[in-house]
């Protein structure tokens, strides 16, 4: 009887602990969309990626359809190679889709916005996004503004 009570209480305790971990996993952290099960990857080359980080969102019209899987520097093209993992159900992106690095809000996180083109062929696994637009670097912008001011 007594042993049974201990076992019961400990069982409830362990269940509570596991439930709490589960709650942290599902409700608090983003473990669910972390495992984008079926994805295909496309690469894009950018002159400058600004502050883009891996796992940053990839969006179309603001809707998230994937994440940045990998960022590395390509020493042959002298450009940053960004690998995008896009969920398999979004297989309708035209070949001439444009990728741009945008910033959420004024100081927010950077993400990749895709702008679909008009081509009939769609992007497949391993393809490259031809048209890219680099991140806006504030210093460059100010520099350009200053030179324009000077030439006037």
């Amino acid at each position: 009887m007594k042993v049974r009570f201990f076992e019961l209480a400990v069982g409830v305790f362990v269940l509570l602990g596991v439930a709490a971990l589960f709650y942290l996993a599902i409700q608090v952290s983003n473990v669910t969309d972390y495992h984008d099960r079926d994805t295909y990857t496309v690469t894009a080359y950018f002159d400058n990626i600004g502050g883009l980080k891996t796992r940053a969102p990839v969006t179309v019209s603001g809707v998230r359809i994937g994440r940045v899987a990998e960022i590395r520097y390509d020493p042959e093209q002298f450009r940053a190679e960004v690998t995008l993992a896009i969920r398999a159900e979004h297989d309708y992106l035209p070949m001439d889709t444009q990728a741009a690095i945008h910033t959420a809000g004024l100081l927010g996180e950077q993400y990749i916005a895709l702008e679909p083109g008009g081509d009939y062929d769609t992007l497949q696994d391993g393809d490259e996004v031809m048209f890219t637009q680099s991140a806006l670097v504030l210093e460059n912008l100010i520099g350009r503004f200053m030179t324009n001011m000077g030439s006037d």
């Binding site: 209480a9 709490a20 409700q27 608090v28 983003n30 972390y34």
Partner: protein, 260 residues
Amino acid sequence: MIDAIASLGRSSLNALVVFGRAFLFLLQVLASLDIVIRRFGLTVVQIYSVGVRSLLIIIVSGLFVGMVLGYQGYITLVNFGAAEALGGVVALSLVRELGPVVTALLFAGRAGSALTAELGLMKTTEQLSAMEMMAVNPYRRIFAPRFVAGFVSMPLLAAIFSAVGVIGGYIVGVGMLGVDSGAYFSQMQSVTDWNEDVLSGVIKSIVFGFVVTWIAVFQGFNAMPTSEGISRATTQTVVVSSLAVLGLDFILTGLMFGTG
């Protein structure tokens, strides 16, 4: 002058001796861990007294810590017009830091001191020697189950603390201060990462559980067999394990988040 240097040397040697004994003690406990599988009932009873009976204090403090975080976070964030980020602030601070650390401190006060006092009294009343006389190995019968119980309970308690704290932050943030409910959770999910944040917190709590239980059980084992000795050992447990938790937290945080 020479006396002062000699006393410094003596106290450092004493500290080293205690540390060495604690380590040998740990090795002996680890060597007798098979009892946990062979007589699981012993461990279950210890998990009950160490874990289940700490539940109330953990849940209540988790709730209040979460509610205070909700208040303070809101007051700071609303200045920047970013009150919606409250969920992220509450969840990150709980999961990364406050959950493991505060749980470990409470655990040291609630369960660690009890362990030390119990074992110290066993030693004082010569129950441990009596066991040895009866050819019962106290490491297997007494120390190992308590050790495992503390080690298992801590991560569970820390997870409960964090989860309850998130709910506490929700009560204050959404219920009383009017942050949007959807924004609270979506912000939380967008900044909290399972591997980087939640699992780091779990690893921290496992380490803290290990250290606090080790200190508590060893202090009981090492206590002077007098009533004064027990009281000193109990105080030592709380002081040393609290300091160890805070110091280790600094090191672990540096290792986990320092380079990221």
